[in-house]
């Protein structure tokens, strides 16, 4: 393989080379330093005069004497069944002291878009055991449902609870968790690792760790490695894979860093104009394929800078993903775990996975009714602050009360509490029964007759 020593300029993570043979766009590049270490990069721009290479590690040690080898192929990663239970670096190298991965296959990490015509319709209800998700923002197989959080909130804890408890009731098919950490601290990483070990989840998991002190640009490839692994496990081995990506905010920062180094015209808040497309190329790698076993379900986690949901990162994410679970600081301060605010949360695929044959016939109506009641009760809290409780009508007082019990009984649950969907829905009915029946305008009379505690014959639950 030819080696070039024509480096002309190095700026941030980018290396500019003069005159080379024709080099392919997107090719993998190896840079051999004077001391023999090898660094990897990718071609970002190629012409007959100039080649721009983006380095995935630090550029420390790279100089005009560095040899550059073009491999002639896109970045591929070795994948195999035995990756399960392994811990890899953000660049895909084993860091658990175990042997190298013996590849069964080498796959292009950029992945290809699933033909929309080949996609299957996601409709398998995933029970996470968390009421605010199962009841009001249901997750289904093949969905991408991010957690929008803020600094200092227990989003990691929630993600772990979901990873641990998630199951499709009645299904015995193989499942796996692919966990990709981008720029999280060692402490956070340990938290995840300990929990995986404590619960025995590690043997079904593949872990990619890019820590806070690892090179930022490596974060560009970490999620791609994780998703390539997930796709392999799902579509080649027929497993149901849950991918957790944390923290997407760090990924986007790395994207911005490269954009700035390339002197691109920045978009909103300095993030590159192609960030939407770039994020879509990650998030869209979730789904199921018609007539094939296996699925990729994604739970990306991102921390909203300044808890601002209109910040470009959550904003663009929300436009691509099928809803979002919003973790709320106010609820957290009230000591409620998991502090999920159901009002701005949403699962767009919920209606496909609930109702008769999936969960229970009353699911949607119960969910809508609770949602409406909580939303109105929550609004009234503002009013109470001004006029006091006494000025409220009877109906308003009841709604205000409903908002409180909703938070305390429905939202709040234990870290190890795994509620079945039946539990969640029955709990919902119990809460709704505190309101007069005439107020339940979103539920048909039939369902009320069948499920409302007041009419339900037999033992009352809880």
């Amino acid at each position: 393989m030819k080696e070039y020593r024509t480096i002309n300029k190095i700026a941030g993570p980018l290396v500019f080379l003069d005159k080379t043979e024709p080099i392919g766009y997107g090719e993998l590049v190896n840079l051999v330093l004077a001391d023999g270490t090898v660094k990897r990069g990718q071609v970002l721009d190629t012409s007959d005069e100039l080649v721009v290479v983006q380095i995935f590690e630090t550029t420390a040690g790279i100089g005009k004497d560095t040899g550059v080898r073009f491999t002639g192929e896109a970045i591929k990663m070795p994948v195999g069944r035995e990756m399960l239970g392994r811990i890899l670096s953000g660049g895909g190298k084993p860091i658990d002291g175990g042997p190298e991965i013996v590849p069964e296959k080498r796959l292009d990490i950029t992945g290809a878009a699933i033909n929309p015509y080949a996609r299957g319709n996601p409709s398998d209800f995933i029970q996470t055991g968390v009421s605010t998700i199962d009841g009001t923002n249901t997750l289904v197989r093949g969905q991408k449902l991010p957690i929008f959080s803020g600094a200092g909130l227990p989003h990691n804890k929630l993600a772990l609870q979901i990873a641990r408890q998630a199951k499709v009731p009645g299904s015995t098919e193989g499942f796996a968790v692919v966990f990709a950490a981008m720029g999280i601290t060692k402490e956070e990483a340990n938290y995840f690792m300990q929990d995986f070990e404590r619960t025995g989840a590690l043997e079904h998991a593949v872990v990619f760790l890019n820590l806070a002190d690892d090179p930022a640009v490596e974060r560009i490839i970490t999620p791609r490695l994780a998703l390539t692994t997930a796709e392999y496990l799902a579509f080649e081995l027929g497993m149901h894979v849950l991918v957790i990506l944390t923290d997407m905010t760090n990924y986007c920062e790395a994207l911005r860093q490269i954009g700035a180094a390339r002197e691109e015209v920045p978009g909103r808040r300095g993030y590159p104009g192609y960030m939407y497309t770039d994020l879509a190329c990650l998030y869209e790698r979730a789904g199921i394929i018609k007539g094939q076993k296996g699925s990729v379900t994604q739970i990306p986690i991102l921390t909203m800078p300044g808890d601002d949901i209109t910040h470009p990162i959550p904003d663009l994410t929300g436009y691509i993903t099928e809803g979002q679970i919003v973790v709320n600081r106010e609820l957290h301060r009230k000591g409620i775990y998991p502090p999920v605010n159901v009002l701005p949360s949403l699962s767009r695929l919920m209606n496909l996975g609930i109702g008769k044959g999936h969960t229970r016939e009353d699911h949607k109506k119960v969910s809508d009714q609770m949602y409406a009641g909580y939303a109105e009760g929550n609004d009234l809290r503002g009013l109470v602050a001004i006029v006091g409780k006494d000025a409220l009508s009877e109906r308003d007082r009841m709604l205000l009360e409903f908002a409180d019990i909703f938070e305390n009984r429905f939202v709040r649950q234990g870290y190890d509490e795994d509620r079945t969907i039946e539990d969640t829905l029955n709990l919902g009915w119990d809460l709704l029964s505190t309101l007069p029946v005439e107020q339940l305008v979103r539920i048909d009379r039939e369902l009320i007759q069948k499920y409302h505690p007041k009419f339900r014959t037999g033992a009352k639950k809880e």
Binding site: G26, S47, N115, N121, P122, I289
Partner: protein, 588 residues
């Protein structure tokens, strides 16, 4: 101006010089703007978008990884065009009219590259029934004959740029789209297929003013903010406000004969929902699958960005083609913001001077050109056809002041303001009745007088007034509580609530409520108005608002929307209401 082969004089070999993502540079290429070129050894499809000295800048519709400088480039000499003819309906295309089903056959479940696939099947035979005979004099756009494509009759036309001529031979029988079915005296021969460059609007004889509403079956749209056939509407909404559901409802239920749905930069799973749902949906008028009158274009967000840019043009050209047959076509573009972002991405790769928020300076021009292709027209063959365009806009952070929303609002006549607050309260469709508007109301008045009821216009204004009044009153209620309001205004609050919850809220997932015709809308609103009249009368007679609120039958009104054969039930409720008020009044 049908697409013709241009002669390309090749001197030196045309080769690639630079590759940077979806934009590549070629040299020694004899090219014109918007020529379609084949890029690299794999002959990836691209389009010339800039000429700068010897450098020809090309946007490529497929992934460019691995392409090297020095690889060949070939100019086809054609503009980016779509194939138009029998076989369009029920098709599902990507942004450059490649049928997705064919792509699955050719390259599996994932979109690979370098595969071309024609938009129409060139093998399938269609039964052509001529409607002209030899000796007939034909103008451009004349209808030659018919093909029963699905339950829709596909009218085969002379291309809109053909010169007039006299029919010499017209065939009848089964033909592929490429076989000649018509020969003119001067020797010109025509097959059923036409090719038309997507960036050029198809000509019409005359554009007319829209006077007929596009009935959507959605109460807040038909009732309060109607769009006319041939009109333009925008649905801007922050994410999670139910934009996609609203658009899909429109595609399913609007009374256009043909639906073109463009998923531009859409979510893959949502597109799948459309793809799996449409074939099973029944057309409320014909009982046939809805898909039989639909063309879908799906270019998901992770498919190549240049093809996303083209998808909107591909869609509207197909819509115009059906319009030219004399059909009412409704086109949904979801979302034009993604389209604008594709323009921005290409523009920044071209290192063009950016305008507002990095969007190219020509954003406004491109948007208005696109929406201007909508309209109610007299076609070249004298028929009446229309293309109604409903564009979704996805403003970042729900901020309507951003350039795409603003430039769109300057053009469109109807604005359906989706509101995240409403959807959080599960008020669906989450269209804000205070911020939305329709500029078609006046031109449609005659239609409502004629087709619904002479009362309709008055009753609609009444409802709008009540809602407006409520929003003012709510401000006071927020401060002092509802008990502090004068009694008549407490009645207003209750009536407004009924309009909101009973009339405006509509359940897209309920079998019956998903579509509500104009007559039913009128009856429902009339019943609420009846309550209102009775309530005010009772209040003046001394009945207190809290007593009025105890009227049981009014809450029964909410069930009307879920009942298919609602008339007997409605009559019963109205009667009960009257009785209950009589009791109250006599007690007062």
């Amino acid at each position: 101006m049908e697409v013709k082969e241009k002669k390309t004089k090749e001197k030196k070999h045309a080769v690639l010089k630079r590759i940077a993502g979806p934009v590549v540079t070629a040299v020694n290429l004899d090219a014109h703007m918007y020529d379609v070129v084949k890029v690299g050894k794999e002959a990836l499809m691209g389009e010339v978008i800039k000429i700068q000295g010897d450098n020809i800048i090309i946007q490529v519709y497929e992934d460019t990884s691995g392409i090297r400088p020095g690889e060949p480039v070939e100019n086809t000499g054609l503009s980016l065009a779509v194939e138009l003819g029998p076989g369009l309906l029920t098709s599902i295309y990507d942004g450059i009219q490649r049928p997705l089903a064919v792509l699955v056959d050719k390259m599996g479940n994932f979109i690979e590259r370098g595969v071309s696939a024609p938009g129409l099947s060139h093998e399938k035979k269609w039964t052509f029934k001529p409607l002209v005979k030899s000796g007939d004099k034909l103008e451009a756009g004349a209808i030659l004959g018919e093909v029963q494509e699905t339950n829709i009759v596909h009218r085969v036309m002379l291309p809109p740029n053909a010169k007039p001529g006299i029919v010499k031979v017209i065939k009848s029988g089964d033909f592929t789209v490429d076989e000649f079915i018509c020969v003119l005296e001067d020797g010109r021969e025509y097959p059923m297929i036409q090719r038309w460059p997507v960036r050029v609007p198809r000509p019409v004889r005359e554009k007319m003013n829209p006077t007929i509403p596009l009935i959507t079956g959605q109460r807040i749209l038909d009732g309060l903010f109607p769009i006319a056939k041939g009109g333009t509407a925008a649905i801007p909404g922050p994410f999670g406000s139910g934009k996609t559901v609203t658009q899909q409802q429109l595609a399913k239920w609007s009374d256009a004969e043909i639906v073109v749905y463009i998923g531009c930069g859409e979510r893959g799973n949502e597109m799948t929902e459309v793809l799996t749902e449409f074939p099973h949906l029944e057309d409320p008028k014909t009982g046939k699958p809805l898909m039989e009158r639909t063309v879908l274009i799906a270019n998901t967000s992770n498919m190549p960005v240049a093809a996303r840019e083209a998808s909107v043009y591909t869609g509207i050209t197909i819509a115009e083609y059906f319009r030219d047959m004399g059909y009412d076509v409704s086109l949904m573009a979801d979302s034009t913001s993604r389209w604008a972002e594709a323009m921005r991405e290409i523009s920044s790769r071209l290192e063009e001077m950016p305008g507002e928020e990095g969007y190219p300076a020509y954003l406004a021009a491109r948007l208005s050109e696109f929406y201007e292709r909508a309209g109610l027209v007299k076609t070249l063959n004298g028929a009446r056809g229309s293309v109604s365009v409903i564009g979704a806009v996805s403003p970042p952070g729900g901020d309507f002041s951003e350039p795409v929303t603003q430039n769109t609002l300057r053009i469109v006549k109807v604005f359906w303001a989706l509101d995240a607050k409403l959807s959080q309260r599960r008020h669906f469709p989450a269209i804000n009745w205070l911020n939305s508007y329709s500029l078609y109301l006046e031109s449609l008045n005659d239609y409502y007088d004629r087709e619904v009821s002479p009362e309709w216009n008055r009753i609609r204004s009444w409802a709008m007034e009540v809602l407006q009044k409520e929003s003012e009153l709510q401000e006071i209620v927020q401060l002092v509580g509802s008990d502090a309001l004068p009694e008549s205004e407490q009645v207003t609050i209750e009536v407004a609530r009924m309009i909101r919850e009973f009339f405006l809220q509509q359940n897209a997932y309920d079998k019956v409520d998903t579509f509500c015709d104009m007559k039913k809308q009128y009856d429902m609103m009339k019943a609420i108005k009846l309550f209102s009249d009775l309530a005010y009368a009772a209040q003046i007679a001394g009945v207190s608002p809290s007593q009025i609120n105890t009227i049981k039958s009014k809450n029964e009104l909410n069930q009307i929307k879920f009942i298919k054969d609602y008339k007997p039930e409605l009559a019963k409720i109205e009667k009960e209401m009257d009785t209950e008020f009589n009791v109250l009044r006599s007690a007062a």
